[in-house]
Structures are given as structure tokens and as C-alpha cells.
Symmetry: C2
């Protein structure tokens, strides 16, 4: 680990809009040097950097992270990273697995892995592969998109909650220290809200009230959150029952969510903004959806704890069928 | 009513592929003269008739029903009809209502109304509007489509079950006699299977095992029946549970379906034919779906009888949201 005031060496996997803002937050505080892994926008970003319009940072003509690369670096013959921050989509049922993707850059027993990703149990495959590494949870509320390669618009502030997933092979103190160090570096620029999260499970279950329900129902119906709230019977008939199932499962898992959480989540997106949640954006683009972590894992947890989840179960299998359709279209099934 | 050997005067509302084959079956037996109401294909059919390739009838260059019209005739100043046969889609939540559409042609206390349409309780609005008219149920198994206006391909035989819906204002005998007369006329050409149906409720609930479940799940997921059977977990996770809910609701309503019905319906469409059920065809074309009669009514009946239907309830509200989306796109909601 880099000492307190020296720059940490950070590998940021995922160079889209959320990754660009994360890189900016880390670099602007002076306590991190970011190597960002870009894919489709690599040629633009490596040449010109990002052009950013941000509610947190203002307008920036060109932000170029310390290094821009197009593949995860192999650290066996180069500098090692203190942190690997993953902001890619985490599609559990489509290869490559995240744990494989980052393998060339992981130093066992050293690199701290930060997952700024949605869903439940996403740390399990990482801890299984890298049992002596700290894995941190990042739950982000941010509104950002990349209308053209390298151009990033951030409409909603980046509010990031960072804590440690429980790795039973390591002491709670070392994991907490890693989380606090990351929060300090991410917050150093003073442009963003990044807080230490002492209860990762609670934070993740809370966000699932939105993600497992609104996100999946929007993806299935093709309606954005504003329209879903207007559509005949949708909130009372499916959104609210689904959310109550998540609240019940969270409670069974030991996480008491506030009584207002269901209404808070239903009303979170402004009615007149017609915001497409991430899985709806994905289905519209023909991309794979993160339904397994967002919907499948909370369903499995709830059912394991004896919580009836009839609504979530149907939504899960519908998402699974939609994913299958997309896999077939992309030739992933080996069928014509 | 026309006497036994004279031609019945039949108005056939709906001049698509199913209507064309129904008109052909009625006219080829010599016991009916058909006036067919066409919409989008009116100019072609009125000029050239239908060009038909049929597994029941063979190839027919030009079949022109006795009369081809483009609107429901007003019988107050013209010949009356013995039967009004409705083969249009029955979309209960989008105007015009069928009972309004056929009003100019209905003679109270005389015209027999035949509904060759899917779903439950479709007779209720008709009996409410025309309490002294017989309303017949037609449940059809047919595979037919109209690849271009006036060109009809029939791939699967027309098997039609006709019986009387229970109109409490009329004697069972008169209703049964009307059904038997219609069966006789429809069967007279000897080219098709048309049988008297002594238990309309049983027949309709049986078909709902397919329609409420496979049809709606295909429409929601975008998968045809062949692919849905292949998709990970879909049959075990949603199709079978949904079908068992329909079987339970049917039983509560007094209709014991055979033990094999679930597997029979799952396996009805050949795996390698990738058949889109009607609601999937509709969502692909951006048409309204018949989810209210096919899904909403059996759900309401089952819940009224105390049958738990958690799967059907979710499917219903998802279809309702999809219909709302389509209504908005078509400007039916009066919103921008």
C-alpha cells in the first residue's frame, strides 16, 4: 500500500462515463495515479483524453488519466497496483468473468480490489479466487453517460459509499483500513461525496429495492421509470409487491431497511425525466443485463431464508429468458 | 333463422387469414352466403378475391365471398343476417368495443352472434348489450397467416369447437339448437373439423393453459414457443407454474382439465418451428394485445374463487404495462 501522502497506483477497469468520473475524482485529489482500461473509446481517449461536462467538476476540455490502456496490464513485468477499481458491468452469466479479466493485474495478498458495481454476492467469486486480497464494496449514485466516445456528461452528483466486503481470511481491521484509505484518496479533491460504509450489506440491500424491482421491470416492459409510475396498475400491481419482497428478504438477512424505503425508491427518479435504469438502457442497446447479481442473488438469498418471493421469481425468470434471447442473437449458444 | 337447406345469411367480421378460411368453410358447403368485412385488404379482396394455399382446401386462385364490404352494414335498410361471426382480435381495453362495432348489423332477438375469439368472459358485454340474442363460442385451432393483402396461407387444419355461451335470458334448448345449426353449416363442405361443444367453459379454460401462459410469456420475453422451451429455466421457472395456476383456477371454476394438459400445451408447438403465438406477433408489429381476455379474466376468476395465482398476476401487470406503452406510442392516452 502506498503511504499516506504518496500517490496510490490505481488500475481502473472500465473507461465509460462512470469510470471517467471516478478517474477524475481520484486524480484531482493528488493521492492517486490512475491507469484506465478503455475499450471502444480507447483511440479517442488515449489521443485526446475525455471531454467532460460535470455537475461536480464543471466543464473540462481534456482530462487525460495518467495512463490510458486498452487491456488489463500484466504486472509480472511492470509496476504493481495498490488498487484495482472495477466499474464495468458485472454480467455473471456471460464470460469473461471479472475475476479472470483482472487476473494479470492482481498481486495475491497485496492488491485491493474495489467493486463499484451493482448487486449482491459480487465479492464471492473474487474472494474465492484471491482469498488473501481485500475486496471493497462501492455503491454509487451517479447520473452520467457518454453520448459519443470520450465525451462524458455527468448530470447527477457522484455519491459513493465504500466499505469492505467480509473476507473471512483477513482481519476486520485490515479490511476497514483499506476502505478508509480508499475513501480518503477518492475524497481528497473535495469535489464529490465519498463516505466510509460500515454496513455494506445494508447499503447493498437498500439499493436492491430500486435495482431488483424498478430496474428489472423497466427492462422487461420497455418503460422508463417515469412512465412506469404512470402506467395503469404497474406500481400497485408489481413494483410495490416486488419491493416489499426485497425488504422482507433484507430483514431476514439481518438488514432492517427504513419504513419509507419503498416510497423513496418509487419516487427517486423525477416523474418527468423518463430515466431509463441501467438494464433498460442495456436491453435497448441489445446488451447483456446484470440480472443475475441484481435479481438472481437477492432472490436466492431470500428463498434460502424462507422468504416468499413470488414476484421476484417471475421477474427473474423473465430476465433470464430475455438474456437467453440475447445470447442466441449474439451466437453465444453455439446455435444457428 | 334460415331453414335447414336454405342458405343462412352470414356476416363475417374480420377479413384476415382466419376470417378468409372461415368464409371459405361456410361457403363451400353451400349452406351459407357470407358477407365479409375487410379492412386493410378491402381493395384487393373486393377486386380479386382471396388467393389461398390451404392444407384443408388445397390451392385456390381466387375465392371471393358472396359480398365483400369495408364496414359493418346497417341492416335497418337492407337484408338481415342470421349469424354475425366475429373473428377480429378482441382487445377489451381499447375502443371500439366489439359490441359497438357490430351494433348496426344486430337485430335484437334474432341475430346469432358467434365469437371465434380467445379468452374468458368475452360473451359478457355482448349478452349485456343484446340480452335476447344467442351468443356462440368458437374455439379454433388453426394455423394461418396473410403474408400480403389477400394472400392466405393455412398451414394447420382448422379445428373449430362451437357451443353456446350461457345466456340466462334464453332457454338452453334454443341456444344449443343455434350452435348445432352453425356447426352443420360450417361442416357441410366436409373440408374441416367443426364439432359441437357441449362444455364451452371447459374448452375455453383448456385453451387458456396455452394462451394465458405461453402466449403472454412469449409476448413479454420476445421469444417464440420453440425458443422459450429451450431457454434456461423458462419452462420450469415460469411456464409450468403459470399453467398449474390456470389448471387450479379451472378446477375451482368447475372444470377438471386432464392431468396431461400442462405437458400437452408445452409440447404442442413443434420445437423446431419457432412459432410466435398471437400476442408475440402483435407485440412484434406494435399491435395491441388481447391480454385482458386471455390473462386478466382468468386471473380475476381464479382470485375470486380464492386460488393463489402469483405468477399470472405478475404476467398480467407486465402485459398491462406493455399495452400502456403501446397506447402512449399511438397517442391513445392524450399525452405527448
Amino acid at each position: 500500500m502506498a503511504s499516506g501522502k504518496s500517490k496510490a497506483n490505481v488500475l481502473l477497469v472500465g473507461g465509460g462515463s462512470v469510470g471517467a468520473i471516478a478517474a477524475l475524482n481520484l486524480e484531482c485529489g493528488g493521492l492517486a495515479a490512475v491507469t484506465i482500461v478503455c475499450r471502444s473509446n480507447y483511440s479517442v481517449v488515449s489521443k485526446n483524453g475525455y471531454s467532460i461536462k460535470s455537475c461536480d467538476h464543471g466543464a473540462i476540455d481534456s482530462f487525460r488519466p495518467t495512463n490510458v490502456v486498452n487491456t488489463v496490464p500484466d504486472v509480472s513485468d511492470g509496476p504493481q497496483f495498490d488498487y484495482i477499481v472495477c466499474v464495468t458491468k458485472n454480467v455473471a452469466d456471460v464470460p469473461p468473468l471479472l475475476s479472470e479479466l483482472i487476473r494479470p493485474a492482481v498481486v495475491p495478498g497485496k492488491t485491493v480490489i474495489v467493486l463499484i458495481q451493482n448487486g449482491l454476492n459480487i465479492e464471492k467469486p473474487l474472494i474465492a479466487e484471491y482469498p488473501q486480497n481485500v475486496v471493497l464494496s462501492g455503491v454509487s449514485m451517479i447520473g452520467a453517460n457518454e453520448p459519443s466516445p470520450g465525451h462524458v456528461d455527468q448530470d447527477f452528483p457522484d455519491t459513493l459509499f465504500v466499505g469492505a466486503f467480509d473476507n473471512p481470511n483477513m482481519t476486520p481491521e485490515s479490511q476497514k483500513a483499506a476502505a478508509e484509505d480508499f475513501v480518503r484518496r477518492y475524497s481528497a479533491g473535495g469535489k464529490t461525496q465519498c463516505s466510509f460504509d460500515s454496513n455494506v450489506g445494508w447499503t447493498r440491500w437498500r439499493k436492491l429495492v430500486y435495482n431488483a424491482c424498478l430496474n428489472s421491470i423497466c427492462a422487461i416492459t420497455g418503460l422508463d421509470t417515469g412512465r412506469l409510475r404512470l402506467a395503469d396498475g404497474a406500481v400497485a400491481g408489481i413494483v410495490r409487491p416486488a419491493m416489499l419482497e426485497i425488504v422482507a428478504a433484507a430483514k431476514a438477512a439481518g438488514h432492517d431497511l427504513p419504513a419509507t424505503v419503498v416510497d423513496d425508491m418509487i419516487e427517486m427518479d423525477p416523474l418527468d425525466m423518463y430515466l431509463p435504469p441501467s438494464m433498460l438502457s442495456d436491453t435497448r442497446k441489445g446488451n447483456y443485463i446484470e440480472y443475475e447479481n441484481i435479481l438472481g442473488q437477492p432472490l436466492a438469498e431470500g428463498e434460502k431464508l424462507g422468504v416468499p418471493m413470488p414476484t421476484l421469481k417471475v421477474l427473474y425468470h423473465l430476465c433470464q429468458a430475455i438474456q437467453w434471447k440475447n445470447k442466441e442473437l449474439r451466437g453465444l449458444l453455439g446455435r444457428k
